[in-house]
């Protein structure tokens, strides 16, 4: 069974700094999707970034980028020039291409951006 592990329950960084959230996963499949979701206090999960496992190039979305290491089964999220609005829970997630799009979530990292 697939598992997703986020080893940092909580992190704090100063505004404008760069922060990296770690995520590792376990799967025997060769093709799959990985996601980072953000959950602010409003509770609504928002997709931050998506990576397709067969693509070598790391996904980027403005200040958000990932370091995808397929062999190591690692999928870290880097937030550059962090902003107060980035304060939220961040969840790493895995989706198999062989099943009905069920997403397996990690337990999350609570990120605090300090003024």
């Amino acid at each position: 069974a697939q598992t997703v592990t986020q080893s940092q329950p909580e992190m704090s960084v100063q505004e404008a700094e760069t922060v990296t959230l770690s995520c590792t996963y376990d799967t025997s499949e060769s093709n799959y999707y990985l996601f980072w979701y953000k959950q602010p206090p409003s509770r609504q999960m928002i997709l931050v970034i998506r990576q397709e496992a067969y693509k070598q190039q790391n996904a980027t979305e403005n200040r958000f980028s990932v370091n995808f290491q397929k062999a190591a089964k690692s999928f870290s999220l880097k937030i550059s020039d962090s902003q107060l609005g980035d304060t939220a829970m961040y969840f790493c997630a895995f989706m198999s291409t062989n099943r009905d799009d069920k997403i397996i979530f990690g337990k999350g990292t609570r990120l605090h951006i300090l003024p």
Partner: protein, 115 residues
């Protein structure tokens, strides 16, 4: 509406009562998902609908939990004889399911408190 809508946003009930949680997906989205998020935890998959059929009910924690969906629209999650351990945020997501890895769009959830 533009997004996934869930109601009520908060529900307080007494142990032993039945509750119904409602989800209105984005119009035209084929797939609908229910997740449970306990305090400080990640998301736990409950059930998935493709249209109005539920090919994957594997996450329902007990026979007190059931869900229905009318066509490709509203879904209700029913919890009978609620217990204190049912207290959680229940999140709904929908997806167009036009291809593998389609993004899931989440509602803001229903926070259920069982006293």
């Amino acid at each position: 509406g533009a997004g996934v809508s869930q109601s009520p946003s908060n529900k307080v009930t007494e142990k032993g009562k039945d509750v119904e949680l409602r989800c209105d997906p984005i119009s035209g989205h084929t797939a609908l998902y229910w997740y449970r998020q306990r305090l400080g935890q990640g998301l736990e998959f409950l059930i998935y609908f493709q249209g109005n059929s539920a090919p994957d009910k594997s996450g329902l924690p007990s026979d007190r939990f059931s869900a229905e969906r009318t066509g490709e629209s509203v879904s209700t999650l029913t919890i009978q004889r609620t217990q204190q351990e049912d207290s959680a945020v229940y999140l709904c997501a929908s997806s167009p399911l036009q291809r593998r890895g389609d993004i899931q769009y989440f509602g803001a959830g229903t926070r259920l408190s069982v006293l």
